[in-house]
C-alpha cells in the first residue's frame, strides 16, 4: 500500500528523522519492489556460432569423462599394485586420476550444458500464504474437540494416567540399551587405581624387561610399563593408565618436597605419562631443561621439580610413582601413584 504513495509524501517523512538529514541521504520509508531486471540474452541465444562453441565444449567434457573411464580400466589391468611401495603409489595415482576425470567430466559437462544451451526462461513462482482459510481451521478444531469428547479422556482420569504413562515409558526400550552400550562400563572408581603396587617391577616399554638403576644414566629417558602387564585383564586399558616416564636428574638440580624425599632412587624419578589436562600421553622430554612437553596443548612439566606445571593449561603436577629397588637390584614401585592419574576431574571429587 505504501508503495502506492506518491514520492512527495516520502520526502516529508524523511525530514522528521534528523539522522537521515545529517547523512544527506534520501532514504524512503519503504522501498518499492524493483521487479526483475530486464532479461539479458546469452551469447548462444543470439549467436549460433557461440551456441555451437558451447556444444563443442560440452562434448569435449563428456569425452574427457570417457577418456577417464577408459584410462581407469586400462590402469586397473595394466598397472596392478605390486610388492613395492612405488608400484602401489603409481597404481593408486592412475586409478585416482581416471576416477576423477570420469566423474568430474560428467558433472561439469552437465552443468555447462544446462547453463549455456538449455532454455533460460525466467519464471517467477509467487509465494502463497501458508495459513489455511478460516473454515478449514475451525473444522480441524471442531474435529479434535469432538474426538477428545468422544474418547471421554476428561471424565476418565485413570485412563488418562495410563495412556500418558505407557507413552512416556515406551522410549526406555530404546534409551536403556543405547545408554548402556555407549557407556560400556560406568564404574568410574577403577580409574583411581592402576596396576602399580608395592614390589611391582618397572619394565621397559614394549619389551617388558626389568631395569637396574645403573642403566638409567644421566640424560636418559625410560618409557616404563608395569611388570606382568600383558597378563592383566584388559591389559591395553591398564597400560593406558599405568604408563610411566622415568629419568635421572643430577642431585644438585633435583628439587624434592620434604614428604617425597624417599620417593626417588639415587636421583631417578618416575612420573605418570598421562597429562593432567585432558589425558594425552605427555612424553616430549627435553633433557637439557628437564622439561616434559605435552604435544596436545603444550602443557610443560618440570621433571626436576616435582613435575610441576611451568607452562600451559594443565592445572596440577603429574602424579609421582614412588620407586625403590628390590633384593635383586631391579627398580620396583613402592606403591600406586600418590593420586589418581589423568585429567584434573579428580580434584572435584575431593
Amino acid at each position: 500500500m505504501s508503495a502506492d504513495k506518491p514520492t512527495t509524501d516520502l520526502t516529508t517523512s524523511s525530514t522528521s528523522t534528523s539522522s537521515v538529514e545529517h547523512h544527506g541521504d534520501h532514504v524512503p520509508e519503504r522501498f518499492e519492489n524493483p521487479g526483475l531486471p530486464p532479461h539479458v540474452h546469452r551469447m548462444g541465444d543470439t549467436d549460433p556460432a557461440a551456441a555451437k562453441r558451447s556444444e563443442r565444449q560440452v562434448v569435449a567434457l563428456f569425452t574427457l569423462s570417457i577418456i577417464g573411464t577408459i584410462g581407469f580400466v586400462v590402469a586397473y589391468f595394466a598397472v596392478p599394485p605390486g610388492e613395492t611401495v612405488a608400484s602401489m603409489r603409481l597404481s593408486n595415482l592412475l586409478l585416482g586420476i581416471g576416477l576423477f576425470l570420469a566423474m568430474f567430466g560428467i558433472g561439469v559437462a552437465a552443468v555447462h550444458w544446462a547453463k549455456t544451451l538449455m532454455s533460460d526462461h525466467e519464471r517467477v513462482e509467487a509465494r502463497h500464504p501458508q495459513k489455511s482459510d478460516p473454515e478449514t481451521r475451525a473444522g480441524a478444531i471442531a474435529a479434535l474437540s469432538e474426538g477428545a469428547a468422544d474418547s471421554g479422556i476428561q471424565r476418565r482420569s485413570l485412563l488418562k494416567g495410563a495412556v500418558v504413562s505407557a507413552v512416556a515409558l515406551a522410549p526406555l526400550t530404546i534409551a536403556v540399551p543405547l545408554v548402556g552400550e555407549v557407556g560400556g562400563d560406568w564404574n568410574v572408581s577403577k580409574f583411581r587405581h592402576t596396576l602399580w603396587e608395592r614390589g611391582r617391577r618397572l619394565t621397559r616399554d614394549p619389551s617388558g624387561t626389568p631395569i637396574k638403576p645403573a642403566e638409567v644414566t644421566r640424560g636418559s629417558v625410560y618409557h616404563v610399563i608395569p611388570d606382568g602387564l600383558r597378563e592383566a585383564d584388559h591389559w591395553i586399558e591398564e597400560k593406558a593408565k599405568a604408563v610411566v616416564l622415568m629419568v635421572r636428574i643430577d642431585p644438585d638440580q633435583l628439587t624434592e618436597a620434604d614428604d617425597r624425599k624417599d620417593w626417588s632412587y639415587e636421583g631417578i624419578v618416575a612420573y605418570s605419562k598421562i597429562c593432567t589436562h585432558v589425558g594425552c600421553p605427555v612424553a616430549l622430554y627435553e633433557q637439557q631443561t628437564h622439561h616434559l612437553l605435552c604435544p596436545c596443548h603444550q602443557s610443560t612439566f618440570d621433571m626436576a621439580d616435582g613435575a610441576k606445571v611451568v607452562f600451559g593449561p594443565a592445572s596440577r603436577p603429574l602424579p609421582q610413582l614412588p620407586i625403590t629397588v628390590d633384593d635383586e637390584g631391579y627398580l620396583i614401585a613402592q606403591d600406586d601413584f600418590n593420586e589418581p592419574i589423568g585429567p584434573s576431574y579428580w580434584e572435584r571429587l575431593k
Binding site: 611401495v85 621397559r204 633433557q287 603444550q298
Partner: protein
C-alpha cells in the same frame, strides 16, 4: 713357593690377592673386550692433528682443554660418536646462538672430523663411532623397529620421523635426510634436547631395528602424496584452504548466470 705359602695368613694377603685379581681382570678385559670401532684405530698423529683443529675452531667456546664454559658443555667423555654426529651434520661449529644448533653443510673434511673425534675421544672414555654392521638397515627388523620408534621416538620426531616442534623454538629434526650412522650416534649421545638412549635402554640390535624402520619410510607413502607427513595440521590446512576453496569456487560457478 714355600715362602709365599708361609705368608698366606699374613694380614695383607687379601689385599695383595685382590690387587692381583684386579690386574688380571683388567689385562684380560683390555685384550678380549670387543671394540665397537670399525674404522682404523686413530693414531697418535690423528690425536695431535685433532688437537690443533680443536684449538683453532672449538676452544673459543668449549675452552682450551675442552672443559666447557658458560653455555658450552665440557667435551671430556662425550666420545668420538658425539663429535662425529655434531661436526658431520654441521651442527658444530655453531653458527650463532639460538634455541638450538641447526644442521648445515659440514665445515670440515671427513679426515678432519675423524681427527677431531680422535682428539676428543682421547680426553676421556665415551661412546665410539658405530661400525657399518651396527647401522646396516638390511640387518635390522623394521617391524620391531616400528614398535620401539612409536614408544621412544615418535612423540617428538613424528610417526614416520618427519620431525616436529618442541617448546620455545626448539624442534625435533626431520630424520629422512639422516644417515644410519647419524641416527645411531644421536641415540647413543643424546644431542641437545634429545635424551640419551644408552645400550641398556635400547640395545645395539634395537637401535639397528629403528634404523631399519626409518629406512623403510624412505620409500614414501603407497597412497600418493603424504603432505609432508607432519600430521593433522598439514592435512587440515589442505582440506580447509584448498579443498573447501575449490568447493566454494565450483558452487559460485554453478550459481552464476552464463554470459
Amino acid at each position: 713357593m714355600k715362602a709365599i705359602a708361609a705368608r698366606r695368613h699374613h694380614r695383607l694377603a687379601p689385599v695383595v690377592l685382590l690387587l692381583l685379581a684386579l690386574l688380571v681382570t683388567g689385562a684380560l678385559y683390555a685384550v678380549l673386550a670387543p671394540s665397537a670401532q670399525s674404522a682404523p684405530a686413530p693414531t697418535e698423529d690423528d690425536v695431535v692433528a685433532g688437537e690443533a683443529l680443536f684449538q683453532a675452531n672449538c676452544a673459543t667456546c668449549h675452552g682450551p682443554n675442552a672443559e666447557g664454559r658458560e653455555g658450552a658443555p665440557s667435551l671430556i667423555g662425550v666420545g668420538a660418536a658425539a663429535v662425529d654426529f655434531q661436526v658431520s651434520t654441521g651442527r658444530m661449529p655453531m653458527q650463532m646462538n639460538g634455541p638450538q644448533a641447526a644442521a648445515k653443510p659440514p665445515q670440515f673434511e671427513e679426515e678432519e672430523i675423524a681427527q677431531l673425534a680422535a682428539y676428543v675421544a682421547s680426553l676421556g672414555p665415551g661412546p665410539a663411532i658405530p661400525s657399518d654392521e651396527q647401522v646396516d638397515p638390511a640387518l635390522g627388523d623394521a617391524a620391531n623397529g616400528m614398535a620401539l620408534f612409536r614408544t621412544n621416538c615418535a612423540m617428538c620426531h613424528g610417526a614416520i620421523g618427519k620431525g616436529g616442534a618442541l617448546s620455545e623454538g626448539k624442534y625435533a629434526p626431520d630424520l629422512s635426510g639422516s644417515t644410519p650412522t647419524e641416527i645411531y650416534e644421536a641415540m647413543l649421545t643424546g644431542p641437545q634436547s634429545m635424551p640419551v638412549f644408552n645400550d641398556a635402554n635400547l640395545t645395539p640390535e634395537e637401535k639397528r631395528d629403528i634404523i631399519a624402520y626409518l629406512d623403510v619410510q624412505q620409500a614414501g607413502s603407497p597412497g600418493g602424496t603424504d603432505l609432508g607427513s607432519v600430521g593433522p595440521v598439514a592435512e587440515g590446512l589442505w582440506v580447509w584452504v584448498v579443498g573447501i576453496g575449490l568447493l566454494i569456487s565450483l558452487s559460485v560457478w554453478i550459481g552464476a548466470k552464463s554470459s
